[in-house]
């Protein structure tokens, strides 16, 4: 084990996979000479050269589309979007081409591609740069979506994503890039579609991913002081989703709180809540609670921003509601 930052774990995954498979290449804005807007691609241009670390113009529709084409032609592109807010510009390539070509070609053509970059809010980046849009991508059959919450998961999931023969979106979190954690020295593939019990507990399941895991753990700490033992489950991959682990946790605790940074309506939490209600209905002692961002564009002002995004206090309150303590 060694302790490293989330961004360095991603960098390690890229380096390891580029060494392992020379079809893997990186493409995106500022990924080469500038070494990545968030320094995830640091040192890779020097190590692998211009043919495999390609700086692109500010034109997501173009370079994401080029990535899709490269993948169809047999390469394994890792396309960095500076943030997933900008992936919206490339939606047609992602939703209409990458997700569906395998199906529409009767399995003759695959798109073994990774699109990665930060999603969600950071600090005061305002409405257009602070969106947690993973629900948009999870909605589409043919796409895989993961949202690592720790350095270890970041490395392990990105490696699995690169090796997957389908288009996989790795949605990172800007606020987690500097977060450190233990990462094994050895090869460590985290399979797509496998959740992790981050903290075991008996009273209520809290399902949270990406940086919401930190908030859930903080809520669990405060609640533990009051004698409430929360079980924090991180699905890690949002599609395919590890229903077995999540449902087992709900069946154990009889209560569920789903946390998602994005908006409530038609969100990932809505999907999880619906499935829990359908599959574990007889086990529930309370309606499934959701903790999400307020239904507004994210404000720029710091206090308003803080009031909009879910945090530990709101999660703890939701747990108490599910336990009929408030």
């Amino acid at each position: 084990m060694s302790v490293m930052a989330y961004r360095d774990a991603l960098n390690l995954a890229l380096r390891e996979e580029m060494h392992r498979d020379d079809r893997v290449f990186i493409m995106g804005e500022e990924v080469g000479a500038y070494q990545g807007a968030y320094k995830v691609t640091k040192g890779l241009l020097q190590e692998f050269g211009k043919r495999r670390v390609i700086d692109t113009p500010i034109a997501e529709a173009g370079f994401v589309g080029a990535g899709v084409g490269a993948a169809m032609a047999g390469l394994r592109p890792v396309v960095e979007v500076m943030t997933f807010n900008f992936a919206v510009a490339a939606m047609d390539s992602i939703v209409n081409t990458a997700a569906k070509v395998h199906y529409m070609s009767g399995g003759q053509v695959s798109v073994p591609m990774v699109i990665r970059g930060p999603g969600g809010s950071a600090r005061q980046l305002a409405a257009q740069h602070s969106q947690a849009l993973e629900a948009w991508f999870c909605h589409v059959p043919g796409l895989k979506v993961c949202a690592p919450g720790t350095p270890r998961d970041a490395r392990g999931l990105l490696k699995s994503a690169i090796r997957d023969d389908n288009p996989v979106l790795v949605i990172e979190s800007e606020l987690l890039y500097g977060a450190t954690g233990e990462v094994p020295q050895a090869e460590d593939l985290i399979p797509l579609g496998v959740a992790a019990i981050v903290r075991p507990g008996r009273d209520c399941a809290v399902i949270a991913y990406s940086k919401m895991v930190r908030e859930a753990l903080a809520a669990a700490d405060t609640l533990a002081a009051e004698g409430i033992e929360v079980e924090v489950v991180d699905p890690r991959t949002l599609r395919p989703f590890d229903w077995d682990t999540v449902l087992a946790s709900v069946r154990k605790t009889k209560r569920a709180v789903v946390v998602q940074e994005g908006w409530t309506f038609c969100g990932v939490a809505a999907e999880i809540a619906a499935k829990i209600s359908a599959e574990a209905f007889d086990e529930l002692d309370a309606p499934v609670e959701r903790v999400t961002s307020l239904d507004v564009p994210l404000p720029y002002a710091r206090p308003l921003e803080a009031a909009t995004v879910p945090e530990a206090g709101r999660i703890a309150a939701a747990v108490k509601k599910a336990l009929y303590l408030v």
């Binding site: 009889k254 209905f281 007889d282 086990e283 529930l284 002692d285 309370a286 009929y324």
Partner: protein, 418 residues
């Protein structure tokens, strides 16, 4: 030829069934063997097959109706064939009533009062609309979490008898758990004015739960004997005036019971599912009444202690029990318990075993009575003791032997004082 579709008797216990769904419409052709409807019995939903070819001419009961076994559900006949006779028969099936799912069956529906013609239709519609949401609050509707429903069903608890503590009075897990610990879970009659409702203390709830479990799961049987209590009284009187710890019936009984445990070790045992566990020491519990319950502190190695030591131990334990200052190890681990109501006007009773013990001895008061000795009636003192025994561990003869061992010692109490 016309054919009748009737509610079949699909199980021995079936008396009526629900016509869940028609799978053929009126006027639709039916061949023998076609599934025409789905019927729910007391156990399952089953498909109902036609036995004749023809057209489903008439559906006699609507979907969702509950009908008795043998009632006419529908008629299959030729297109032009007369079915009047069959329809006349069907109209006798008056027992058809709408199906209400278990647990939500309300009171019988009273026919609506006739509305005076002066009230306009629009007003009626408005009233109906306004009162519509109240439908969910009609008596008989139970709001409960799915988990609470499942637990209640498993434990045979009627949700209608439970008051919910969740939002909007929803019955939740804790309410069912609380009801399960109550010996009479169903509050069948609503409290009348002036009744006082006292929430269960933790001790009362625990006693309720454990005693219910004990009586429900342990096959109790009872053995009673009457003993000559004359010598016991003598001892008691002798010690009444002396200084030192007060020695009474309880203290002597504890020692006798401890010694008897060694003589009949089968009583000093616990049922443990796939084994019988025999206890090492002869520890005797003594039931002590508290304001809101009972606790049973344990006199350890009662066989080896002198009666004086037992009296001292009991005085201390009882005192601390009343102050709720006992440690768990001081009220756990007995091989048998003593429940003595002799100080009250109780001649004889049988006590409930406290698990994991396999027996409890209930002691009544000493009664002065006429006894026959060598053919002559004379005055004497008698006391009745009753052993409740767990038949999974203790058989009748063992229980009798134990009682005999205790009785013999109590009838010769001076030996206990040695």
């Amino acid at each position: 030829m016309a054919g009748r579709i009737i509610m079949p008797k699909l199980s021995d216990t079936m008396e009526e069934g629900v016509l869940v769904k028609w799978l053929k419409r009126e006027g639709e052709g039916v061949a023998s063997g076609d599934v025409v409807a789905e019927v729910e019995t007391d156990k399952a939903v089953l498909e109902l097959e036609a036995y004749t070819d023809g057209v489903l001419r008439k559906q006699m009961v609507p979907e969702g109706a509950r009908v008795p076994v043998g009632a006419l559900l529908g008629v299959i006949a030729g297109d032009q064939e007369s079915i009047d006779a069959l329809l006349a028969e069907g109209s006798k099936a008056e027992q058809v009533r709408p199906f209400a799912p278990t647990g939500t069956e309300g009171p019988p529906v009273t026919p609506a009062k006739p509305v005076p013609p002066s009230i306009q239709a629009s007003v009626l519609a408005e009233v109906a609309q306004r009162s519509a949401p109240a439908a969910s609050e009609t008596p008989g509707t139970v709001t409960a979490s799915p988990l609470a429903r499942r637990l209640a069903e498993q434990r045979g608890i009627d949700l209608r008898a439970i008051r919910g503590t969740g939002p909007g009075g929803r019955i939740v897990e804790r309410d069912v758990a609380a009801a399960a610990t109550s010996p009479t879970p169903a509050v069948t009659t609503p409290p009348s004015a002036g009744d006082r409702r006292e929430p269960l203390s933790l001790m009362r709830a625990t006693i309720a739960k454990r005693m219910t479990e004990s009586k429900a799961t342990i096959p109790h049987f009872y053995v009673t004997t009457e003993i000559n209590a004359g010598p016991l009284l003598e001892v008691k009187t002798r010690f009444a005036d002396t200084a030192g710890p007060k020695i009474g019936v309880t203290e002597l009984l504890v020692k006798a019971m401890g010694q008897a445990l060694l003589a009949v070790p089968r009583v000093n045992a616990s049922f443990a599912g796939d084994a019988v566990v025999f206890r090492a020491g002869a520890h005797v519990g003594v039931a002590v009444a508290l304001e809101d319950g009972i606790i049973t502190p344990v006199v350890r190695d009662a066989d080896r202690k002198s009666v004086g030591q037992i009296a001292e131990a009991l005085a201390d334990l009882t005192d601390r029990a009343r102050r709720k200052a006992l440690k768990p190890e001081e009220y756990q681990g007995a091989g048998i318990s003593l429940s003595n109501l002799g100080m009250f006007r109780v001649d004889e009773f049988s006590a409930i075993i406290t698990p994991p013990e396999a027996a409890v001895l209930a002691v009544g008061r000493i009664v002065e009575t006429a006894v026959i000795r060598e053919g002559r009636v004379e005055a004497g003192h008698r006391m009745r003791i009753t052993l409740s025994a767990d038949h999974r561990v203790i058989d009748g003869v063992i229980a009798a032997k134990y009682l005999e061992e205790v009785a013999a010692r109590i009838e010769n109490p001076w030996q206990l004082l040695r």
